[in-house]
């Protein structure tokens, strides 16, 4: 029993939201296995995995930014429109002004930054709720897209398309695989092992209770195993394909933002603001600045997502970005973020996004129509969040915990709501 408990506590990282994340990963694996069976092995075939990443990388990139927005206690409804607006401007800049495509990408990111600064200004410095600001932004930039594009579809040049539909080149000896993908996978394996060992070292330095060695090894083995499997799948696709470029952009962003949110003061401040903005302010956190940058960052990522979609579609069209905000928000909430802010992780959101993506893909492979796919996705979102709310009321949740509950003697203690001070937090308005 204690081994099982150790496992539950230590399998995925070392913090409080573990069990929740474990549940999500468990769900993802279950869905993958389910569809692998239902589609006769199509789900995990190389070409399908590659397509899955290409189709969803832009939504997952949005989910990264959205997670930070939601953790800070806001919401951004404008991401789809911002993506479409940036997309059309970038496409036009290449078609009409002949901007070279790398410059056009920088141009697009700059547009995102300007839009983000605009929205951040209203949210942080004027104090208009983000829901309203971005609802306005949604209309504003959707209209902007149609105004500039005249609702036309504008193609983009070949070079630009790399970020959306490109692959790693085939180099080196003929191994029967895409060699660069193999190298990436190997780097991933080394990183996993290094991180595990580093974590053990850190815990030793802290004089903290060490994680049992067998768990470390099991954890490494599982992660390396998954990585090797995925790497080989991606590397063995049709010649000319590999792990997609958009997937590489995504992975780089996930790593960078995970690090930022977890290991820097700026990241901490986002959680502090979302968890209790007044307490954060009284701890010296610059509330306005945090809110401003969170909103701005979201629009920059939305711009990037828009460009990746345009690159994948080979053209910027009037329907780009429709409904993306909902997909991104759904990913974040399925990934365990709290509606009231302060809780959530990048990795959770990515897993949440992947759950939706695999579901979508699996159902399409089964030939289920778009109408029914939407119904199923809606139900999944509702159930995932309902489960979360339910668990919060019940104390903390864990899949394994719920299985082993009957064996445990220690009943979980409810958090003390001490001194009966259940009054509203004194919301003292801040002046100037």
């Amino acid at each position: 029993m204690s081994r099982l408990k150790d496992l539950q506590k230590n399998l995925f990282g070392g913090t409080t939201s573990n069990a929740r994340q474990f549940g999500m990963i468990f769900t993802l694996v279950a869905i993958v296995v389910l569809f692998q069976i239902l589609t006769d092995g199509l789900t995990l075939r190389s070409d399908n995995l590659i397509a899955l990443f290409q189709q969803n990388s832009y939504i997952l990139i949005l989910a990264i930014g959205m997670l930070m927005v939601i953790v800070a206690g806001h919401i951004d409804l404008s991401v789809g429109s911002v993506a479409a607006f940036t997309g059309i401007l970038v496409a036009k800049s290449m078609a009409d002004w002949n901007l070279p495509w790398p410059v056009a990408i920088l141009f697009g990111l700059a547009i995102g930054a300007v839009i983000g600064a605009w929205q951040g200004f209203w949210v942080a410095y004027i104090g208009v709720p983000a829901f309203i600001v971005t609802l306005a932004g949604m209309l504003l930039f959707r209209g902007g897209n149609q105004f500039i594009g005249n609702a036309n579809t504008i193609p983009v040049p070949e070079g630009f398309r790399v970020i959306g539909s490109g692959f790693l080149p085939e180099t080196g000896p003929n191994t029967g695989y895409n060699n660069l993908t193999l190298l990436l996978g190997l780097a991933g394996c080394i990183a996993v092992v290094w991180r595990e060992l580093h974590a053990r070292r850190v815990r030793r330095e802290m004089n903290a209770e060490p994680i049992p060695m067998w768990i470390s090894i099991l954890r490494m083995a599982v992660m390396v195993g998954v990585l090797v499997f995925v790497t080989l799948r991606f590397a063995s696709g049709r010649v000319g394909t590999s792990f997609p470029v958009s997937g590489i952009i995504l992975v780089a962003l996930v790593l960078a933002y995970s690090f930022y949110t977890r290991n820097t003061a700026g990241g901490r401040h986002i959680y502090a603001v979302g968890g209790n903005s007044r307490a954060a302010e009284l701890s010296g956190v610059k509330l306005k600045r945090v809110n401003f940058y969170v909103m701005m960052n979201m629009s920059i990522l939305a711009a990037l997502a828009g460009m990746i979609f345009v690159a994948r579609s080979a053209a910027s069209g009037p329907q780009d970005g429709n409904g993306w905000e909902l997909d991104a928000i759904a990913a974040v909430f399925i990934g365990g973020a709290a509606v009231s802010g302060g809780i959530g992780t990048i990795s959770g959101s990515i897993v949440g996004g992947l759950v939706m993506a695999v579901l979508n893909n699996g159902l399409q492979l089964m030939g289920v129509g778009a109408d029914r796919v939407q119904i199923i996705k809606g139900l999944v979102l509702l159930l995932a969040v309902a489960l979360d709310v339910y668990n919060k009321r019940q104390g903390r949740f864990s899949v394994i915990g719920s299985i082993t509950r009957t064996f445990r003697r220690d009943t979980p203690t409810a958090p003390p709501s001490s001194s009966g001070a259940e009054r509203e937090p004194a919301k003292t308005p801040v002046a100037g």
């Binding site: 903290a208 959680y271 302010e281 701890s283 003390p416 001490s418 001194s419 009966g420 001070a421 003292t428």
Partner: protein
Amino acid sequence: MSDVPILLEMRSITKEFPGVKALSDVNLVVRAGEIHAIVGENGAGKSTLMKVLSGVYPYGSYDGAIFYRGEEMRFGDIRASERAGIVIIHQELALIPHMSITENIFLGNEPRKGGAIDWKAANRQALELMARVGLREDPDTLIKDIGVGKQQLVEIAKAFAKDVKLLILDEPTAALNEDDSQHLLDLLRGFRERGITSIIISHKLNEIEAIADRITIIRDGRTIETLDVKADGVNEDRIVRGMVGRELHSRFPDHTPKIGEVFFEVRDWTVRHPISAERLVAKHSNFVVRRGEIVGFAGLMGAGRTELAMSVFGRSYGVYESGTIIKDGKEIVLKTVADAIHHGLAYVSEDRKAIGLNLLDDIKTSTVAAKLSKITRHGVLDQVKEYRAAEEYRQSLRIKTPTVDDGVNTLSGGNQQKVVLAKWMFTDPDLLILDEPTRGIDVGAKYEIYGIIQRLADQGKGVIVISSELPELIGLCDRIYTVSEGTITGEVARQDADPETLMKLMTSSKKMQTR
């Protein structure tokens, strides 16, 4: 004695919250037609007792029994107690600002004709009720457009709409000016003549003395005594003795202060209310703090102590009007909390759940939250340093937790408070302002926190303690300022401090009397 029938009897009421026993074996007897006052220090358990009575804490969540008009009552919620004619009017008024007087009076209790609200009848009844409480206003006036005093009357009218038999007023005059208070007290006397029983909770002892028939004193969650005002010849001093009377010195660790020079001084500090700009929450306040000194701020609720402290702490409350802060002989300007932290100030807030802690965080994250730069290297948080810092405080402050990875919401009130203290000690402050540092904490933990405060002073830091518990200030502080209506009204040295003296200064609205 027993010629008057008993309306309400609460028998050995005990109410526990996790970690705290708020009420223990409390008895209360209220006779029909009297005005019964309940007094006690903040946190003594008065409000909890009234919440038990009114069903906010439903039957089953407390021990003991409530007899009302000779029958045992088991209220499941507020509506049940209201049906029995017990209506409580809270300190924070439960009115909706953008609705009219009539709408507020009948909210949830609307007179109906068919399925629709009969506004004609409502307005007519509202006028009658308003006349009973002496409120002359158009019943269609919005609540936000009338003053606090009149709002209070609307609350009482609302109680009458529910056919009240026992009216409970929690600090009814706290927010009222002299005239409005007087009007309200007259009104209560009028009710008494008409046979309505009232329970009044108040800090204003002069008012209690003037109006109450009998007084029940509660201290530390226990009934101390019930006094008959006329028969026992009760006066203010007698009440104060009952409220604070206990041995003070055993509750505090022994401590010999090592007081140094004045290093922190606030001059002519004036701050406006954040919303109603004509109100001053701090008025020309002056105070000094010496190194190694524990300075107390005594004052009644709403006296403006918290507002004063927060406005000094990087203008985190109100709108700065005038005043200077001098630290170590130099004037400093603290426009933001970050400035204040940078200049060695720390403010441990009164309400740790609402504004002191992020309850979603774990202990180590909370400990370092106010000074992340101390554990940052090349822009990256050093988790080993973080863990070590938290672990150090866990040991030195004896925070009771298995590991610092646990969430702060798993801790008891006293241990949460220690985490907040740790968070601010981590910023290496020169001056700590502790706002109600022991509120809602049991006696043992209080003792430990007093020890921490004394150690901080011994390290040469200045400490300001804001507290509503006079014994705490008297036992802990080297010097005490009294605050009333945003002004410092007195300064009392430790050896001169006694509850009576302080209470008088706290309730006076005169300027500074130095003794």
